[in-house]
Symmetry: C2
Subunit: 214 residues, 2 copies
């Protein structure tokens, strides 16, 4: 059981640390000071020390951080030392983009099946991954270890399908439908992706710059 609750802001930054440290590893960098990491991450060195202290530090005075160690420890904190099988509900463009992006599989999130209501897609494959009828979902989930279901279907069906997945024992939902999915089940983890929110933040920045130059 975890002793302290880690703030959402820290958790939000962890994947970025992991990506940056992975880049350093690829460039054969073995150690880095918090100042150097600070330059790369656009965070203060003190912020970085605080962030990493949440997880027991990993830094050594006068040496800095061992890149591989820090990378692997953050990976473990993020659960990336385990494979998470994923299915995708809805086999449209977004699902195709997800299944074609090899990085997800490299990170330990292989997609092992896609599901749709469109008969024309049944039995086809995208990047080697088969599209099944949504009617086969129950059997598929019972016969395979499914850790994550990504929802890329129309929002009208999102709650019904999410509840069905949860009743089948799926514990994590990566939600791309255009609603904030909320289920009355504390055991289920939901990550909502709202591309329109991202676009609105961009728009906010554009509007702010325009104001500044008025």
């Amino acid at each position: 059981m975890m002793e302290t609750k880690i703030s959402k802001a820290v958790i939000r930054r962890l994947p970025r640390y992991y990506r940056y440290l992975g880049d350093l590893l690829n460039n054969k960098v073995e150690r880095i000071s918090s100042n150097e990491l600070s330059d790369k991450m656009k965070l203060t060195a003190s912020q970085i020390r605080q962030d990493l202290n949440n997880f027991g530090g990993f830094g050594q005075q006068g040496y800095g951080y061992n890149v591989r160690y820090l990378h692997d420890e953050i990976g473990k904190i993020l659960g990336l030392n385990e494979t998470h099988n994923m299915i995708i509900i809805g086999a449209g463009n977004l699902a195709s983009a997800i299944v074609r992006y090899d990085k997800f599989e490299q990170l330990g999130f292989p997609t092992i099946g896609m599901f749709d209501v469109n008969k024309d897609l049944f039995g086809t494959t995208i990047n080697g991954i088969k599209v099944y009828s949504i009617d086969e979902l129950d059997d598929f989930v019972k016969n395979n270890q499914i850790d994550i279901a990504a929802l890329t279907l129309p929002k009208e069906n999102a709650i019904e399908v999410a509840n069905r997945l949860v009743s089948l024992g799926v514990k994590s939902i990566w939600n791309f439908t255009h609603i904030d999915l909320e289920l009355n089940d504390d055991d289920v983890v939901i990550e909502n992706v709202h591309l329109s929110d991202s676009l609105m933040r961009l728009s906010y920045e554009i509007a702010s710059r325009e104001k500044m130059t008025d």
Copy 2:
């Protein structure tokens, strides 16, 4: 010129306020108390009052918030009272998903062209939007008002294309390539979308739940 700098956390929440208030409008709700809004938003009523005070309040004691007024004011803060023309570089699955999602156009972000290096795509249309050769990019940007360029191309070409767009006068980049894009130009606004970060946050939550039940 804005008087105070608004925190990133508040800005991050604004699109959610906008979406929720839009849902309320669709359901013909005319006013809402900060307590009711708090229930919907999963924020404390005090947090909501604080957030909205950043923008001059909008609430009235004993009445609550006028939904349409608050919706429209937040829309203005987000710059949604103006149309932002968008182009997409890379006409693959992710670009198709973006261009097929009508909501972006409804929010004032019409896509007016897509660009690719794949000859087979030149002249084809996706949801009525034409795919051009990347060689036509310069002329297109010179002849049209382009506010936002979405990058959905391989990361190897991202920086080169981003710099080219900036030199052509494009001021905002919605970056889906798998790098944190940084340009040495403070006039340019960049919103990085990292789907793998989102997946890692989900993975973190899964790992945390598992620890709790150990």
